[in-house]
């Protein structure tokens, strides 16, 4: 039986919410072509900010760092976080309550506190500040987000398919890989996407755990704000969105070809 098409009001509503989400983005993309520096009035079309962007080594370096940190911390956090979600949703073990509480600490702790105490910790163990320290910190706050989302997915998970799989002779590992994981994959991917997003935009914790030469995009942009954020930043964001969009379109097209 095919799925019923959702009601018209629901479709309109969803469209409106997407509009709410995208209107500011459209504005900032449009203003990346604005002659005026200040994002206040439209003064004419120009590509100068894109040009400036490609010549700005600082920003390019920061972008590279930001991406590297985001990807690595998301990968690690997703793996570890999914494991933890499985543990918490399906197993009894000594220290369960403590583990669960521990999990929530990165969510409840204020960022300034987390940033400063991580810095003090790294200083204490004489671990040089740099990309590594930032990544390690990002993993720490990403894990609970992944776990929480995957747990929501696991709740009410019907174990009978797993049992069926094992009845048919598959061991735990294969069952997990072939049965469990695909079923919880939407949760895992959602968690991963959330973690990636958090990492890309983090300021406070990154500020305190960054070292010389390991600046990230949020750090650069936040500190540019004093002197006015020029449309160069708009250009960067516009490019980013455009690139990801293109990748999406390509993968959609590829999927359609396959089907």
């Amino acid at each position: 039986m095919s799925e019923k098409k959702p009601a018209l009001w629901l479709r309109i509503y969803t469209f409106l919410v997407y509009a709410y989400i995208y209107i500011p983005i459209l504005i900032l993309i449009i203003f990346s072509f604005n002659k005026q520096k200040l994002n206040i009035r439209w003064e004419g079309f120009t590509l100068q900010w894109y040009e400036k962007l490609f010549n700005d080594h600082q920003v390019l370096l920061a972008t590279k760092n930001t991406l590297l940190i985001a990807v690595i911390s998301t990968l690690v956090a997703t793996v570890i976080g999914t494991m933890a979600a499985l543990a918490l949703q399906r197993y009894h073990f000594p220290g369960y309550a403590a583990s669960e509480t521990l999990m929530y600490i990165p969510i409840v702790i204020p960022e300034v506190v987390m940033g400063i105490s991580l810095l003090a910790f790294f200083a204490l163990i004489k671990f040089k500040l740099g990309l590594a320290t930032i990544t390690l910190s990002h993993i720490a706050f990403n894990i609970p987000f992944v776990t929480l989302v995957v747990r929501a997915r696991l709740h009410g998970f019907d174990k009978s398919i797993e049992e069926a799989s094992m009845d048919l002779g598959a061991n735990e590992l294969i069952t997990f890989w072939r049965v469990t994981l695909p079923t919880i994959m939407p949760g895992v991917l959602s968690g991963a996407m959330l973690a990636l997003t958090l990492s890309l935009d983090d300021y406070v914790i990154t500020y305190f755990t960054a070292g010389p030469g390991s600046t990230t995009l949020p750090l650069r942009i936040f500190s540019m704000v004093r002197f006015t954020v020029t449309p160069e930043v708009n250009a960067l964001s516009a490019l980013w969105v455009a690139i990801v969009f293109v990748i999406l379109l390509i993968s959609e097209y590829a999927q359609r070809r396959r089907a």
Binding site: I116, G213, S214
Partner: protein
Amino acid sequence: MKKYRIATLFILVALLLVACGGQKASNVLNLYAWSEYVPQGLLDDFTAQTGIKVNYDTYSSNEELLAKLQAGASGYDLIIPSDYTVAIMIKQGMLEELDHSKIPNFVNIDNRFTNPDFDPGDKYTVPYQWGTTGLMYDKTKVPFEPTHWADLWDPAFANRLVALDDGREIIGVVLQTLGYDKNTVDQAQLEEAKQKLLELKPNIRLFDSDSPHTALLNGEAWAGITWNGDAALAFRENPDIVYICPQEGCGIWFDNLAIPKNAPHKDAALAFINYVLSPEASVMITEEFPYSSPNTAGLEYLKTYDAALYQSYMDFSGTNPSDDFLAHATPIRDVGDATTLYDRIWTEIKGEE
């Protein structure tokens, strides 16, 4: 599970590589300063002359700089703290003493700015830029042209003011309006200032320490309490913007180059300081950023290098305040234990419903 372990291992190895693959070159200078404060052209020129590559990391407030260094961060060679921050850092032994034999260009500095009270004998710092904090307004929008801070309390300014989001600065302005010292620790005076500030609150449309001039340029505010660089940026876009030091007094600040203790590349830092003090470098800074320069040789050089820029620098009260302006300007000083008192007042002001 094995697959996961291997994957995690790979990732950890990658992490380690990233960590160890950092800058190993000794021909490097780690600069840690405000963003948009040191021209890229200057850094490039320095690299061309000395072969030393400069890493330019940024912070967005003195307090962030302090917090990070106090919590244990190291690896930075050069920082640009403001006057009161320098005072705190010296008291906590956070700065290296400067070897003046390596910075002969120090003579270029205007001797109004040498031997400051926050660093007697110029032992730890060298002036970089300076400026003032005053009253900025759009003369076409305001109901009348203010000459005193007290004017801002007028109901005609209701919900039309922008103020720095800085407790010390704003409470300081109120203290000056009441005729008190802006660095007072007297509880009775501070209580009075608090009450007076509460009366001003309805006139304040927003607090903003990032870019107060934006509110003036886009029409949200008509007047504001801000620093000179910000007013200059507004003036560039709108010549109707006026920047003054009100009769009761205003503020003055100094940013300085300093070397944190145990900096890994001290010699490179000293070479950089000396380079920045040269007239050519000084002019590069003045060209790009609208603050006041403490470098007399630089300003002299600017006269011939770019006469038009020199003229506009001299004409604008933000970059070149008159003697009268300066006579009324008082700097912010650290107030030690009373800092928590000021913080409490600021919390109460904002926490008021």
